[in-house]
């Protein structure tokens, strides 16, 4: 495959937009009239001049060759990232060679792209010695880690006490106590430097108002929190893999120091979740040869999209290294060998029964696991009262959709795509049901994002 590769689709470009307004503004600029002197190079640089409201056109450059997602530069004053000009330019590029012909970049574009690639290469080269210099004072680092572990232990012990008090007085009483109780406890866990515990405690607060069956869910979550506390307090006696999982769940930082696995990674899904402080982006990858599924996590400040963006339907030839912990899908993207390119490949699928079993097995390594990534093959979306199911085409068993998935517009795209016939769907399968994220066209083979 050439460096230039195949051009992306408009959907894949629009997936880069930080918000809905940018999507719209970018779509409008994705027409030839706004642009002049546009072009793209074999190295994966795309450039163009966009007529704005001022007298000088904006200079827009995009480097699409980076596996960590495209990089952008634009002379416009917008603080959106990528700005509408970068999106418009990529849309134009996606539309074909008429508007953005292959060529040699002008100086202003070439300088930026070359500088960027040089810096990336330097950073990569400096990566190994850099981590060594970080551990320049191993004594001090160890002391810091010990102090933090003591704080967490104190926090976990306090949390155990609070859980015991809660169960002594009864969950019904907790319903009346309301949200404040949990917020305060969560703040205590933040002080204890255990962000994982803090997040779980905060989630507990929302359960009493989450509809019928809440006592069961609250007891389950309290019990799993208790299990995590106990895991931490007795981590020395756990097998190494499980201990690492506990550390990750508690919220201790890890580094992706697993062995690098080179593969052709399909981008299966990308979606964002946001809370008051943070936007979290999840990207699911599937290794064509290894059969592994990996999760890339990236973060952005509240209201801003994380920078890493890999549109669904692309495949990248790259190395991926796992974070520590048994049963943890999280990984980091390492060295890439070619820019991402569209693919028609799709992962092999399983039946609903196999998917449920896969979740059950995964709990062995990580009992706190909410769901596992699964590709279901030959399933039909079927209405079931107020909810929906994915039914095996060949048997009579079905996975219900999660309440979150039922409320999304993606559900209707999936139903429309299926038309009552079997489809292949990738998603997350867990104890609350199945959340579809991506589906594939039966005939065309293209992807349809559902999240």
């Amino acid at each position: 495959m050439t460096q230039q590769g195949v051009r992306w689709t408009a959907d894949q470009v629009l997936a880069l937009a930080p918000d809905v307004a940018s999507r719209k503004a970018g779509s409008k600029l994705g027409a030839a009239g706004s642009w002049s002197e546009a072009g793209s190079s074999d190295e994966g640089t795309v450039w163009g001049l966009c007529k704005g409201s001022g007298s000088r056109p904006y200079q827009t450059v995009v480097d699409i060759a980076d596996a960590a997602g495209p990089a952008y530069k634009c002379s416009c004053p917008s603080r959106k990232f990528p700005c509408k000009h970068a999106l418009g330019l990529l849309l134009l590029w996606a539309a074909g060679e008429d508007a953005v012909p292959p060529g040699t970049p002008p100086d202003w574009a070439e300088q930026w792209a070359a500088g960027r690639r040089r810096r990336t290469a330097e950073k990569r080269a400096a990566g190994a010695p850099g981590s060594a210099s970080g551990a320049a004072d191993p004594q001090a680092a160890r002391r810091r880690a010990e102090r933090r572990a003591e704080r967490i232990t104190a926090g976990a012990t306090e949390l155990e006490q609070r859980l015991a008090d809660l169960l002594r007085g009864g969950l019904a009483a907790a319903e009346q106590a309301g949200y404040g109780l949990w917020e305060e406890t969560a703040a205590r866990m933040v002080d204890a430097q255990a962000p994982g515990l803090a997040a779980r405690v905060r989630d507990l607060g929302a359960i009493p108002s989450s509809g019928p069956g809440w006592p069961v869910r609250l007891l389950e979550e309290c019990a799993l929190l208790h299990l995590l506390d106990q895991g931490w307090l007795r981590r020395e006696r756990l097998p190494e893999g499980l201990a690492a999982t506990v550390r990750t769940r508690i919220g201790l930082p890890g580094s992706a120091d697993g062995p690098a696995v080179r593969d052709r990674w399909l981008v299966l899904a990308q979606y964002d979740t946001a809370d008051a402080k943070l936007t979290t982006r999840r990207i699911w990858l599937h290794g064509t040869d290894s059969g592994r599924t990996a999760l890339l996590l990236s973060y952005g400040a509240a209201g801003r999209a994380p920078e890493q963006a890999l549109p669904v339907g692309l495949a990248l030839d790259a190395e991926v290294a796992a974070y520590p912990g048994a049963g943890q899908p999280r990984a980091a993207l390492g060295k890439q060998f070619a820019p991402p390119a569209p693919t028609r490949g799709r992962p092999p699928g399983v039946t609903t029964a196999q998917a449920a079993a896969r979740y059950g097995e995964a709990l062995r390594d990580d009992p706190w696991l909410e769901s596992v990534p699964v590709t279901l093959e030959e399933v039909i979306p079927v209405p079931d009262g107020d909810s929906w199911q994915l039914v095996d085409a060949e048997s009579d068993s079905a996975l219900p959709l999660t309440p979150v998935a039922v409320g999304r517009p993606g559900l209707w795209r999936l139903v429309a795509l299926s038309g009552g016939a079997p489809v292949t769907v990738f998603g997350e399968c867990g104890h609350r049901g199945f959340t579809p994220l991506t589906a594939w066209h039966r005939a065309r083979g293209g992807t349809v994002t559902l999240c």
Binding site: R168, P215, A356, I380, A416, G433
Partner: protein, 542 residues
């Protein structure tokens, strides 16, 4: 929830229930099952619950399947080309609230292009990609003007979807018979059944579709049950005979002239008067002929008008309304109706073998000219008489064509509708060249899209003149919007000279040049976009 697998040990489920109860009430009030001695009760409860929770989750099994819906009917139409499918997604993504902001800038208004795109895609006979159907249905839900074309593109699968989502019920209402296809003309049994038992809307749709293909069969269907229909239904059914109206319909319409309902009688008379060879037309020609004559005794031949003195029963039977609206003289009101219904072809013989042009050029005595010419306009539109319409329109550059003459802009637009597309475009082009754009909006609306080359050039020239005259472009935003949608995309290159900001003339409105450049840039961008859209669909946007 997914069902938990059948418990291996029977007490497991019961034990879990007991745990939940104990947790809910608190261990102070209820001692939980199990637990090791020496352990605090709440901790023991949490221990057991943790084991049970993981155990329950690990044992989850799929649920039994609910009843599967019937699969969507197959859609044999070819799929949209991929580029066109992406374009559709973009056009639909632009929909909600895109109009925000006062100034429109140089970017095209994608939403305004959606109707055109839908029409072009339907003309090619493509089917919408299934994953685009939800967005398409949402768009059609918000804009009723998009519905017919959107639902055609969406096809049978959209109706299948609409049955699953109450938000899209409108699609089922819009499609007659809740989406079941209308029977073909050969399926006599189903036609009869639907006609006799169907809902009113279904029957109207059925009649319209049959009438379109086989006018006679449609009329016979209606005649069979005519006597038993309710008056307001008769009116609607009679109105659908407008499609495919021909001499064969005369006996049926003649009979409807004796209907109990006045509205039905009036509609029947109107339809008959649109048939120049009908007996009613002949009667009307006699009545009207008696009122209008050429007086040769004056210096120049002059038309003299003698309005009818009464409205007799036979006139009323032929659809003449005897009671004049407030503020109109009875006699001129009757005259107008007679002239409107009389066949125009008869006037030449009646008025000395003159052509329509010559007749219209004759002076008219006693201020009857306005009344007379206005009635002839209505007659020309009703009878779709191009020769008279041409004469009534006159030369587009004539001075009275621009002013508030006898023929209003609305009437002129209707008269233009009786001419062929080419002639219509030429006339409007001539009108714009002579009178500018200020009155042109309504006339442009009746021209075929894309505009013929002379018309497009006339509009662009007039816009350039308006710019040079120093006004602001938003005084012409209506025409500008039409031009974006209707100008032939091939004209885009001619506009290159207008894109730059012109030097500001002394008497020009401040900053107008910049706004004009922006407006022309948007025009060119939109034209290029339409060109690209047409290419993606594999043809011209028509």
């Amino acid at each position: 929830m997914i069902r938990t697998s059948a418990p291996v040990e029977a007490p497991a489920t019961g034990a879990w229930e007991e745990l939940v109860t104990a947790a809910l009430l608190g261990t102070d009030r209820r001692t939980p099952p199990g637990g090791t001695p020496g352990q605090e009760a709440p901790v023991a409860l949490l221990d057991t619950a943790a084991v049970q929770t993981v155990r329950r989750r690990a044992g989850l099994r799929p649920a039994p399947a609910a009843e599967r819906p019937e699969p969507a009917p197959p859609d044999p139409r070819p799929a949209l080309p991929e580029a066109a499918a992406r374009r559709l997604a973009l056009l639909l993504a632009d929909r909600p609230g895109a109009a925000g902001g006062g100034r429109r800038g140089t970017a095209p208004d994608l939403m305004e292009l959606l109707p055109q795109w839908l029409a072009a895609a339907n003309a090619h006979g493509y089917a919408a990609p299934p994953e685009a159907l939800p967005a398409l249905l949402d768009a059609a839900r918000g804009r009723t003007d998009l519905r017919p074309a959107a639902l055609v593109l969406a096809g049978p699968r959209a109706l299948w979807l609409a049955r699953l989502n109450p938000d899209w019920r409108f699609a089922l209402r819009a499609a007659p018979g809740g989406g079941t296809a209308l029977p073909g003309p050969e399926d006599a049994e189903r036609i009869r059944q639907l006609w006799e038992e169907g809902l009113f809307a279904e029957r109207v749709a059925l009649l319209a579709s049959i009438r379109e293909r086989r006018p006679a069969a449609g009329r016979e269907l209606l005649a069979a049950t005519w006597a038993t229909e309710r008056a307001e239904d008769r009116l609607m059914f009679l109105d659908s005979l407008r499609t495919g109206l021909g001499p064969d319909d005369e006996p049926f319409l003649e009979q409807a002239l004796a209907d109990r309902s006045r509205n039905v009688r009036a509609t029947a008379a109107e339809l008959l008067s649109a048939l120049p060879g009908s007996a009613l037309s002949a009667r009307m020609a006699d009545r009207a002929g008696a009122c209008v004559a050429v007086d040769h005794m004056r210096g120049t031949p002059t038309i003299v008008v003698e309005a009818p003195h009464q409205c007799d029963a036979s006139m009323e039977r032929d659809g003449v309304v005897s009671k004049a609206p407030a503020g109109r003289g009875e006699r001129s009101w009757w005259l107008g109706q007679l002239l409107e219904a009389a066949p125009l072809g008869a006037w030449s013989a009646r008025l000395g073998g003159r052509s329509p042009q010559e007749i219209l050029a004759l002076p008219v005595a006693d201020d009857w000219q306005g009344e007379l010419h206005a009635a002839w306009c209505r007659a020309a539109v009703r009878q779709r008489d191009a020769q008279w319409a041409r004469a009534l329109l006159g030369a587009p550059a004539a001075p009275e064509a621009g002013g508030p003459g006898a023929v209003s802009l609305a009437e002129r637009a209707k008269l233009l509708g009786t001419l062929g597309a080419g002639e219509r475009a030429d006339w409007v082009a001539g009108f714009i060249a002579a009178h500018g754009l200020s009155e042109a909006f309504q006339l442009l609306g009746v021209c075929a899209v894309p505009w013929a080359a002379p018309l497009g050039r006339a509009v662009v020239d007039a816009l350039e003149i308006a710019r040079d005259a120093g006004s602001y472009p938003w005084s012409f935003s209506g025409v500008m919007g039409l031009a974006e949608r209707c100008l032939d995309p091939a004209e885009a290159n001619r506009l290159d000279g207008l894109l730059a900001v012109p030097d500001e003339a002394e008497d020009a409105s401040p900053g107008a040049g910049g706004y004009w450049a922006e407006a022309f840039q948007r025009l060119v961008t939109t034209l290029r976009l339409r060109c690209a859209m047409a290419e993606e669909l594999g043809g011209r946007v028509g």
